[in-house]
């Protein structure tokens, strides 16, 4: 490996470690609807860090972690206290607390700029590119110092989540149940906040707080779109966080721009992909499902209208066909209705009966019968139980007819003592007798 490759390698490793730790913790923040508390804490640890650096005289030391944890817990606590004690809405109290602490941090930085080697800009967007430059020797290898810290913190995060897996899970989904079971939701909450503060401060120097915020929120949100299981959500969140680190690094190299910024943009890109293409909750799938429903309803409407034409034809005019154009109009018009007709012809539900007219096949008649039965049963049911005027029965029945399966039909029919006619005097079609083999 050449020097360039080595630099790239260590930068990516730093990104992967930091992003994964954030993504793991972020899952709980997103699930508990506390994403913005992570945002608040990562801004608010600034004064804690500055004070700790002044105290210990160096940028990496246990004092920095103590300071960060203290301020992280303080932020969570003050937000809650202002909301309870001062009657301030929770979002306002959070906004007040973290911006004030951040302002304090900026002022402290300015005052002691000569003694603290921290630059507010660097704190916000980080200089991950410089991670590989500050190395120490270990087992004969030159390893960046930040890697040690980040891997410790990442390991700590994994340990935290493994040890408290059950507690975290139950508190995230049902804090009331957790309390009833004797798990202190408050303790778990503050432990989580302390961990967030630790991760933030460990990532501070290397990657900056904006990347921490992005990684706390965006990969977990991406994972949340993709799965409904907590462990899978954690795995996917880490995967998307690592992917953001790798792709983000190379894109930033290519355009020669901020690596941390690019990593959060890539995370945003992955999130956008998930929003559109997620298998269960994605926009495309939702649109497809809606389209399927619409087409089904159009098909059923066409079958039903042809059935009614046949029914009337048997009584008087002998006409059992309906013009194609009327069918389309009855199904709400539009392109979808027009496209549905050839589809139904190819499925053998309706046939072209000459003179530009359509008629039911035997297969189509079966489906249509069930649908009209649903419609008329529902009308009878409404008439009996809701005292609606006669002319108000048709519209709700036209909506319900698509959703009554054979079981519900059976139940309604029993409830109404097997009616033969609907309230308008139309015959309710009876289901075909089951084949006796």
């Amino acid at each position: 490996m050449g020097r360039e490759d080595l630099l790239a390698f260590w930068t990516i490793v730093a990104g992967v470690l930091c992003n994964s730790a954030c993504a793991i913790l972020g899952c709980y923040m997103v699930l508990r609807r506390m994403s913005l508390l992570g945002d608040a804490i990562s801004h608010a640890v600034l004064p804690g860090t500055v004070v700790a650096v002044l105290w210990s005289g160096q940028l990496v030391g246990w004092q920095v972690f103590v300071g960060a944890v203290a301020v992280g817990i303080l932020t969570a606590f003050l937000t809650q206290a202002l909301a309870n004690f001062g009657n301030v809405p929770e979002d306002s109290s959070m906004g007040v607390v973290f911006t004030s602490l951040f302002a304090l941090g900026v002022i402290l930085l300015n005052q002691y700029a000569s003694q603290v080697d921290l630059d507010p800009g660097c704190v916000l967007y980080g200089l991950i590119e410089f991670v590989p430059l500050d190395t120490v020797s270990w087992l004969g290898m030159e390893i960046p110092r930040a890697i040690f810290m980040l891997s410790t913190v990442a390991a700590l995060t994994v340990l935290f989540v493994t040890l408290l897996w059950k507690e975290l899970k139950i508190v995230s989904f049902d804090a009331g149940l957790a309390t009833a079971m004797g798990i202190s939701a408050i303790t778990v909450h503050y432990l989580l906040m302390a961990m967030v503060a630790v991760v933030t401060v460990a990532s501070f120097e290397a990657v900056g707080s904006i990347l921490v915020i992005a990684m706390l929120i965006v990969p977990p949100a991406t994972a949340h779109l993709l799965t409904d299981r907590l462990w899978m959500m954690q795995v996917l969140a880490v995967a998307s966080a690592c992917l953001s680190a790798i792709i983000g690094y190379f894109l930033a190299e290519y355009w020669n721009t901020s690596v941390a910024g690019m990593m959060s943009v890539v995370a945003g890109g992955l999130f956008t992909i998930a929003v559109i293409f997620a298998p269960q909750h994605g926009l495309l799938v939702k649109a497809y499902r809606k389209l399927q429903w619409t087409v089904r309803i159009i098909k059923e409407d066409i079958l039903a209208v042809l059935y009614r034409v046949e029914e009337r034809g048997r009584r008087d005019s002998q006409e059992t066909r309906l013009e194609r154009e009327k069918c389309v109009q009855f199904a709400g018009g539009g392109l979808l209705a027009r496209l549905a007709i050839p589809l139904m012809q190819s499925r053998g539900l309706i046939v072209d009966a000459g003179d530009g007219c359509l008629a039911l096949t035997d297969a189509g008649r079966g489906g249509a019968k069930s649908l009209v039965r649903s419609h008329r049963l529902w009308e009878a049911y409404l008439e009996k139980h809701f005292e609606l005027p006669r002319d108000h029965l048709h519209a709700p029945a036209s909506r319900m007819e698509h959703f009554l399966g054979p079981n519900l039909q059976q139940e309604i029919s029993e409830e109404l003592e097997a009616p033969q006619q609907d309230p308008h005097g139309q015959v309710i079609p009876q289901p075909d007798p089951p084949d006796v083999a």
């Binding site: 609807r33 945002d39 951040f102 904006i210 939702k286």
Partner: protein, 421 residues
């Protein structure tokens, strides 16, 4: 002592504080405080893009870009909330961090493109730089502040409805969504003119602090808006003056901390809604209820031997009702000071003449409530009115006389008062 430059900055920050306070109040009332934060962060990429497109540091173009991308961010937040399973707080966090990340990427690109100098210009938007304010900036700020004020006055009634009860507004046929968008536009305007002065991170607090502080001082919207505007104006002015006095301190954070200080003062010292006022009220109510409990107990114990003397030790009293530790002793001391109870020697306490009178009235009230609850349940609704616990204030005069009569018939009327009549 005020130089021309200081004066310019002073006027600029005051106007900025005033307009942010005014429009921010609505954000606070609608529980949208952090949307302002997201907007401020989301403005950054627009700022940079405008710079790239125009090719120079032109303030109006960059502010317009910032305005557009801020609004785009808000649009994304509501789209995510409506069409996906992402909750509002997560949506805000996503937009905030991803847009800001994009802004940093772009600003680094600009830094690479340009020969020198312009980097400092963009960096100042992140933490703010008031010192660079010039006369044209102040004119721009004043113009936009006037615009915000005009729109608010024009749609005052509509905003009022939407701020307090959005669902009512929708049911009544108000265009709630459009009004929301208009409100967000105003907030975006305030954010965008504030960015150069206080920067991205601290802009949110300029929106929140004046409104949240004013909320402690009043319950009425018009007063709240006026107060928030004044608070914002003063915050900007005082913060600027402090930071010029100690020239080492950056103005943006100082302005924010000034606002925080005033917020804390309001939180503690505001009349009625302030923490101290509410604490004192709670103490007064507690102490009054405790006194009533003590007097009632003494009356019930002493009444049978009336008009003879009867005195009770602390143990007698503490065994008959439950008290918090130390409460009984404190109440007795208080009652002695008020002349309702006196010390009769040998560690016993008895009612004074005043104490008899007061406790008998309390006992009458108490027994009338008992009567209402046991015999006249149809009147128990009066209990809902907790501000007035006196029966006489809660029921019509003829019913009060009836209760009075019934108590006498059952020999439950306090003996002290029977004599009196």
């Amino acid at each position: 002592m005020l130089t021309y430059n200081t004066l310019i900055v002073l006027v600029g920050t005051s106007l900025l504080g005033a307009s942010a306070g005014l429009v921010g109040s609505f954000a606070v009332l609608r529980r949208r405080s952090l949307t302002g934060d997201a907007l401020a962060h989301a403005a950054l990429p627009g700022l940079c893009l405008a710079f790239l497109v125009v090719g120079e540091r032109s303030l109006p173009a960059m502010l317009f870009g910032a305005f557009l991308s801020g609004l785009a961010g808000i649009g994304c937040i509501s789209a995510l909330r409506r069409w996906t399973r992402i909750k509002e707080d997560t949506a805000i966090g996503i937009i905030l961090s991803v847009f800001f990340g994009a802004g940093i990427v772009l600003s680094r690109c600009i830094q690479n493109l340009s020969v020198s100098g312009s980097k400092a210009g963009l960096d100042s938007y992140i933490l703010g730089k008031t010192a660079g304010m010039i006369f044209q900036d102040v004119v721009l700020i004043a113009g936009l502040a006037a615009f915000c004020l005009a729109v608010l006055l024009l749609f005052y009634k509509e905003f009022r409805v939407v701020a307090f009860d959005p669902s009512f507004a929708r049911v009544q046929g108000w265009p709630a969504a459009s009004l929301d968008l208009l409100l967000m536009t105003l907030i975006a305007v305030a954010v965008v003119i504030g960015l150069p002065a206080v920067g991205v991170v601290l802009m949110a607090s300029l929106l929140i602090l004046p409104g949240a502080s004013a909320r402690f001082w009043t319950d009425e919207l018009d007063r709240l808006l006026v107060l928030a505007t004044i608070f914002g104006l003063l915050t900007g002015a005082v913060g600027t003056l402090i930071s010029t006095r100690y020239s080492l301190l950056p103005a943006g954070p100082i302005i924010v901390l000034t606002g925080t200080a005033w917020f804390l003062i309001s939180l503690f010292f505001a009349p009625r809604r302030g923490a101290i006022a509410r604490w004192m009220l709670a103490r007064r109510v507690h102490s009054r209820l405790g006194q009533n409990k003590l007097l009632n107990l003494l009356h019930d114990l002493s009444e049978p031997s009336w008009p003879g003397e009867s005195a009770w030790t602390i143990e007698d009293l503490s065994s008959r009702k439950s008290w918090r530790p130390g409460q009984l002793k404190h109440l007795l001391q208080q009652a002695v000071i008020w002349g309702l109870v006196e010390f009769s020697g040998t560690g016993r306490y008895r009612l004074t003449a005043d104490g008899w009178q007061k406790s008998a009235e309390l006992a009458r009230n108490q027994r009338m409530w008992e009567l209402i609850l046991t015999e006249h349940a149809e009147w128990s609704g009066c209990l809902a009115n907790l501000e007035h616990t006196g029966v006489q204030e809660c029921v019509p005069p003829e019913f009060y006389l009836q209760l009075d009569r019934e108590l006498r018939e059952r020999a439950r009327y306090p003996k002290v008062l029977v004599q009196e009549k």
